[in-house]
Structures are given as C-alpha cells and as structure tokens.
C-alpha cells in the first residue's frame, strides 16, 4: 500500500507538487497521467524518496519513509522496485550481473543468488541472454532486464516511470503484459507514470489525472473504458484536452 499525505515538493521557486494526498491500495495497478510538466514523474519519485518532499508524509508498505534515517531508508527501498523510461542498466555489466547487483545490494544469501537471478530472467523470458551486455539487446529486452532487476528482491511495490515511452507499440504491449503478470502472480502493487492513454487504459485499475502539480481527479478504469462515477466515459479525455493535452514527458 502507498499513502501520500499532503505531500509537497518544490524545485527552487517552482512548486512541482502541491499538497497531494493519494492512497493506492495493495495489489492495485495505478496510473498517473497528465501533460508534460504536470508533476507525474516527481510524484512517482516521491514514493521511494528519490525526491525528498518538503512537506507531508510518504508511507509505503506500512512504513513512513519520511521519518526513516538513511540506513533504514536504503532498507525500505529494497522492497520498492523501480523501472525507468531509459532502462538505466549498467552498460558495463552483463545481463546476469545487472540483476545480481540488486541482490548483492540487499545482501541476498550468496549461494542462492544464481538461482534467483536465473528465476527472474526466466520470468521475463531472457534466460538465454544472461552473458550478453545491454548494448547487444533491443529496447524491449533492456526493459525486461530492468524488470528482472527490480523484481529480484521480491518487492511489494513496483514504480514505473514511463516504462514504455521509448518502445514501439508491439514491444509496449509485451512489456505491459509482463507488468500485468507480475501484478497477478505476485500481488505486487504497481504505479505507472505515462503520457500514453492507451497504456493506462490497457492495464490500470485506477488512474490519477495530474495537472500543475495537483491530482485533478482519480477515476476507475472499467473494461468498457474509462468511467467516472457519473458515467461519462469522455470526461477524462475532455479534462486532459482542457489541461493542455498529452505532451511528451
């Protein structure tokens, strides 16, 4: 579970996040959508304190991150996985070593590391590429490695910052499939930041629409499309259009 309570974040004069309150229940796939500069990536990065808030409380997995000291925060981060638009793999490490690094940081028992790495790579379908380097992989494969790396320590939460924004439509669908699988099989709570409506629509349970550092609204996504409580499916798209539409993040 993720709980943001009146969280604010400034970058010098600019108020990136203005007193946002949001609860994401365990097991949900939650989308965050909005125009460029709306603060959606910043909001996500507050959830593992990659950005420290200036005010408010961030609670993840029942732990208030904002009150932890550095060491405890590092411990808490090990159960919060994160993936990025540009994958952020270590280019000089093999696929295997990239995933193993995450276990090493968590002091995962040495003898069991190899099995765990193989297990995670099998889950994302890359067990045959273990000895290759990221430069030899396609974008989709790189994101799979990043997912395996984020999964290795059995996180309860997975934060995804524009995970498919540099991928083509087919690869996007594959990656979203993997994310959905993670959610179903392991009950991992997933938060996805995206400016692509299709991404949000295809896998999220709920979506928060952001504009100018605030959550404009949080709506439920039904199989038939995006639904607001008042049953106006077009509402969400109208709102986005009003707020400057969907730019590239």
């Amino acid at each position: 579970m993720i709980n943001l309570d009146q969280v604010s974040k400034n970058f010098s004069q600019f108020q990136a996040i203005k007193s946002v309150t949001l609860t994401i229940p365990k097991g949900e796939i939650h989308g965050i959508i909005g125009a460029s500069g709306a603060g959606k990536s910043t909001l996500l990065r507050l959830m593992n304190l990659l950005e420290a808030p200036h005010a408010g409380e961030v609670e993840v997995n029942g732990q208030s991150l904002t009150t932890l000291n550095n060491k405890a925060l590092r411990g808490a981060r090990k159960s919060i996985g994160m993936i990025f638009q540009h994958f952020n793999l270590v280019a000089n490490k093999t696929v295997y070593d990239n995933v193993a690094a995450s276990l090493e940081l968590a002091n995962y028992p040495k003898k069991e590391r190899r099995n765990r790495v193989v297990e995670c790579l099998q889950f994302v379908g890359l067990e045959g590429e273990m000895e290759r380097y990221p430069a030899q992989l396609s974008g989709g494969q790189k994101q799979r490695v990043a997912i395996a790396r984020a999964l290795a320590n059995n996180p309860q939460v997975l934060l995804c910052d524009e995970p498919t924004s540099s991928l083509d439509p087919n690869t996007t669908a594959e990656i979203l499939d993997v994310l959905q699988n993670i959610n179903k099989r392991f009950g991992v709570t997933i938060v996805i930041v995206s400016h692509e409506l299709d991404v949000i629509k295809s896998i999220c349970n709920r979506v928060s629409i952001m504009a100018e550092g605030e959550i404009y609204d949080t709506v439920i996504i039904e199989p038939t499309g995006i639904q607001k409580k008042d049953n106006r499916p077009e509402y969400f798209i109208e709102q986005l259009a009003e707020n400057g539409g969907l730019g590239h993040a």
């Binding site: 411990g75 994160m82 270590v90 000089n92 690094a101 940081l105 430069a135």
Partner: protein
Amino acid sequence: MPEILVQYEAEIWQSIGETITMVGVSILAAILIGLPVGTLLFLSRKGHLLENPWTFSILNLLVNIIRSFPFLLLVVFLIPFTRLIIGTAIGTASACVPLAIIAIAHYSRLVEQSLLDVPKGVIEAAISMGASVKDVIFKFLYVEARSGLVLGLTTSIISFISYSTIMGVVGGGGIGDFAIRYGYQQFKTELMIYMIIIMIILVQLIQFIGTAVARMIDKR
C-alpha cells in the same frame, strides 16, 4: 648497437631507472589520492550525491591553482615543502614530491570528467535499489566509467613522463635530464636524438596499452 649508446650504457640505464621511479610515484599518487579527490569533486558538485558547495569550491580551487602553475615554477615553489618531508630538496626522491602533487591535480580532474559521463539514470537506479554512497561509487560509478578512467590515466602518465624530463633542475635525473646534460650541453646531438627516440617508444607503448585496455573493458 651504436657506439655512443654502448659508451654511455650505464648512465642511460640509470636515467631510465630514475624516470621509471619518478613516473611510478606519480602514477601511485594519481591512483591513491587523485582518484578519491576526483571522485569527491564529482560527488560534491551541485545536484550530485554528496552535494556540498564548500568542499567542491575548495577542491576545485586547489586543483585549478596547482594546474595553473608553470610546472618548473611549481617545483621551485615547493622546495621548502619538499625539504620538510624528504629532508632535502635535491635528488630523485625529492623530485617525486612536486611530481606527485601535479599528478594528483591532473588525474583528479580527468576522473571528475569521466564520472560526469556516467548517465545520471544509472546512479538513480542504484539509489532506488537501496545502494549506499559507497555502493554507488564502487559498484556503479567506477564500473560504468572504467574505460574513461583508464584512458584518463593513460593521458596522465604521458604527461607525467613529460613533467619528469625537467626534474634535472633539482637533481632528479631521468632520461630528459640525461639528454640535456650529455646530448645537448656536450654537443652530442646523436645521443640526444637516441634519448628522444626512447621517449617516443615509451609514450607509444603506454598509449597503445592504455587504448587497448580501455577498449577491452568498454562494453557500452
């Protein structure tokens, strides 16, 4: 072998030994002190892991000051300091003091530049996995920047060889000093040219090894 080289064989070997000593000490100083100083320069920069304007400004200023000295003046300027730690300002050991200091300043700047080339996202990924500052440095930064660090060290070593050639002014010896004293001042131009050839071979060899190693460990 040319007769003149045979005639001065003992002196030539001695001067090669002195050059290796001076450059060796410079390399050690660069790695043991320059690398940490460069890393700290990088980390203390604005927007980086250990952001600290004071640390950054002081280190930055020091490195700039040392590097702005014409090297010969730095050697002379440091004589009292050299005397303090070695006991004398003359000889190969004393020559190593200013060489070590310029080596630290030189390599730390190149280290800083190599680390700046590491994508910020990689560092963020490391932090999101719960990495400590130490983890980030040794398991991510140095791994990702390793070929730049090797190329930087190669460039530095070649500069150290060049700096070492003027250490004759404080009796440091070395190939450069030999070439000047015997080749130039005693009008044995042939001998001087042989010494220059030795230096060229040395530099080529170091550059070749450095480039090969950097390429081998670069998987980007």
